[in-house]
């Protein structure tokens, strides 16, 4: 029996407990998602955008997996009624949330690997050997900058009754403003600038450079730096938000909403 915090949290709080359901949901759900958006883009924007949209959505699916699963764990705590016992322990809420992040992060990376295979077989999008290192770096940066967002959203769930609205809304905004389904250039000027300052946008731009233009490391470095800086900011915000929410919920006594 393996009993570290990681395996125990996984067993206690994660949706997919065996390989069969895991694969069903991590192979089929993304696949259907890609097919749907690919068909939409193919008939509206034209066949030349097929790869564009598939790559965008593969990376979007990572974001989706990461954020939903960070949120889901805390929601399970609410459903089980275990939240007060976690929060009332000497380990701070923030520390618990950070420690648990490892699970969705691993899931997200697996999702990416599975999806890379899927899109290779179905859309013939290949990842060359030289791309692996820059891609890995970009993916880690994206994950880093989105963990903050995930923590903020799930933190709101401690205080507010329904966290799904925030969750769906932010996922919708990522689909619109991060260049997932269409190039950023079609956004109005002011909005494009804002779009470039939210997490995920720059990382995705970098990934597109690597896969479609076989870009070298130094071409993508600016994207990485930018994504990391945004990530640091969201991380700091997330720490601030959780600390504030913790105090707020202790003051208002709304910690125990179901």
């Amino acid at each position: 029996m393996s009993t570290n915090f990681f395996t125990l949290s996984y067993k206690a709080l994660y949706s997919y407990q065996n390989v069969k359901t895991y694969l069903t949901f991590r192979v089929l759900e993304p696949l259907f998602h890609y097919l749907f958006f690919a068909s939409m883009a193919y008939y509206i924007m034209g066949s030349e955008y097929l790869n564009f949209i598939v790559i965008g959505n593969v990376i979007y699916m990572m974001v989706h997996t990461l954020i939903i699963n960070i949120t889901v764990m805390l929601r399970f705590d609410k459903i089980y009624g275990t939240l007060p016992y976690n929060i009332g322990s000497p380990t701070s809420t923030l520390a618990i949330m950070f420690k648990r992040l490892l699970i969705p992060i691993i899931d997200t990376i697996l999702t990416f690997i599975i999806s890379s295979l899927t899109v290779f077989f179905i859309f013939n999008i290949k990842i060359e050997f030289e791309m692996i290192f820059p891609l890995l770096l970009l993916i880690i940066t994206i994950i880093f900058s989105l963990c903050g967002i995930g923590i903020i959203i799930s933190g709101l769930g401690v205080v507010f009754k329904n966290v799904n609205l925030f969750l769906n809304l932010s996922l919708g905004l990522f689909q619109i403003f991060c260049g997932v389904n269409f190039p950023l250039s079609v956004l109005p000027n002011g909005i494009e600038t804002i779009a470039r300052c939210i997490p995920f946008t720059n990382g995705l731009l970098g990934i597109r450079e690597v896969i479609t233009n076989s870009a070298e490391m130094n071409t993508v470095l600016p994207y990485i730096y930018f994504e990391i800086s945004i990530g640091v900011v969201t991380f700091i915000i997330s720490i601030f938000v959780i600390k504030t929410l913790e105090i707020l919920s202790r003051k208002k006594g709304v910690l125990f909403f179901d």
């Binding site: 029996m1 125990l8 949290s9 206690a12 407990q17 089980y80 016992y85 208002k252 910690l255």
Partner: protein, 314 residues
């Protein structure tokens, strides 16, 4: 012996929405009490009295609007970290357990949160204490309420707490299981662990608690040992008389006899129950009653905590 818990002028109000308008709802109106080390201290009171609110504040889950609380000589607002390490709590009911974990895993999980290393045999000992050693490696999803409640008690002991807070630990349990839980609780106090307990069962409080506070609408009505509460708050004794030839009209007219109930039992005999002021001796009562019936048997019952409680919060 010094007090391990000191509660001074504790005041709390919640903001609630009534028809869309924000309103203040006072839950605790400035209560005071102290608890000594090793004591089992009971908080009693009707629904909505403020018991759970008090426990949440003392366990650092809720920040009070006003008042001072010190646990283990530390202020709950200034050193919540230290306090959390040295206390533990359960909030009652069957919730608060991870369905898919086994009891051992559940305890392991919390030992990690409490930052302590506990060897497996120590965990087994805890499970033995609450009688779950046979289920140590079963998923808790199929556990009964009683098993879940007992698992909570095992969890509560995980960090060798000096104070434990048990909010309605026997809620919804059958009499036999409740008795087992009570036995476990009484064992805790023998280990010099201070226990704060809330319950709606008066007999349970009477059996377990060294001292009791009765709260109603956010105020403490009385505080003291069960014996003290019983003695000060009952001016009557309870009588049960088996008799024949009862003059029902006559007996109803006696002023001192209160809450009279009459029941016909076998052989045409009557059983009557009533309260009578404590100032009269049993001889005097017997004489009084004899005017209206022929007494076959007379019993006198002591005041229970329940009687005192009902008088207090009515």
């Amino acid at each position: 012996m010094s007090s391990i818990i000191k509660v001074n002028n504790l005041y709390h109000e919640y903001t609630i929405k009534n028809n869309g308008k924000k309103e203040k709802k006072v839950a605790l109106k400035g209560i005071n009490f102290e608890v000594k080390q090793g004591e089992v201290f009971g908080l009693l009171g009707p629904n909505g009295a403020g018991k759970t609110t008090t426990i949440k504040i003392l366990t650092t889950l809720l920040i009070p609007k006003n008042g001072n609380v010190t646990l283990l000589d530390k202020d709950i607002l200034k050193s919540p970290g230290y306090i959390r390490k040295n206390i533990n709590f359960m909030l009652g009911g069957e919730r608060g357990i991870y369905n898919r974990l086994t009891p051992i895993e559940y305890l392991k999980y919390f030992s990690l949160l409490y930052k302590i290393k506990i060897p497996d045999n120590k965990l087994m000992e805890l499970l033995e204490l609450v009688g779950l050693e046979k289920n140590a490696n079963e998923e808790t999803i199929g556990f009964s309420k009683g098993m879940k409640q007992r698992l909570h008690i095992a969890r509560v002991l995980i960090n060798n707490p000096k104070i434990v807070f048990l909010d309605e630990p026997t809620i919804g349990l059958d009499p036999v299981i409740s008795e087992e839980v009570r036995l476990i609780i009484s064992r805790l106090s023998k280990k010099n662990i201070t226990v704060i307990l809330t319950t709606h069962y008066m007999q349970e409080a009477d059996d377990l608690c060294d001292r009791i506070a009765i709260i109603d609408e956010g105020e403490i009505k009385i505080i003291g040992t069960p014996t003290f509460i019983k003695s000060t708050h009952s001016d009557v004794k309870f009588y049960e008389v088996t008799c024949s030839n009862l003059d029902e009209v006559g007996i109803f007219s006696v002023e001192e006899i209160r809450n009279l109930a009459i029941k016909t039992i076998e052989g045409g005999l009557k059983l009557i129950r009533f309260e009578y002021p404590v100032t009269s001796t049993i001889k005097e009562v017997q004489k009084e009653i004899n005017q209206f019936c022929s007494i076959i048997k007379i019993n006198i019952r002591d005041v229970t905590l329940e009687d005192a409680y009902i008088k207090l919060v009515r």
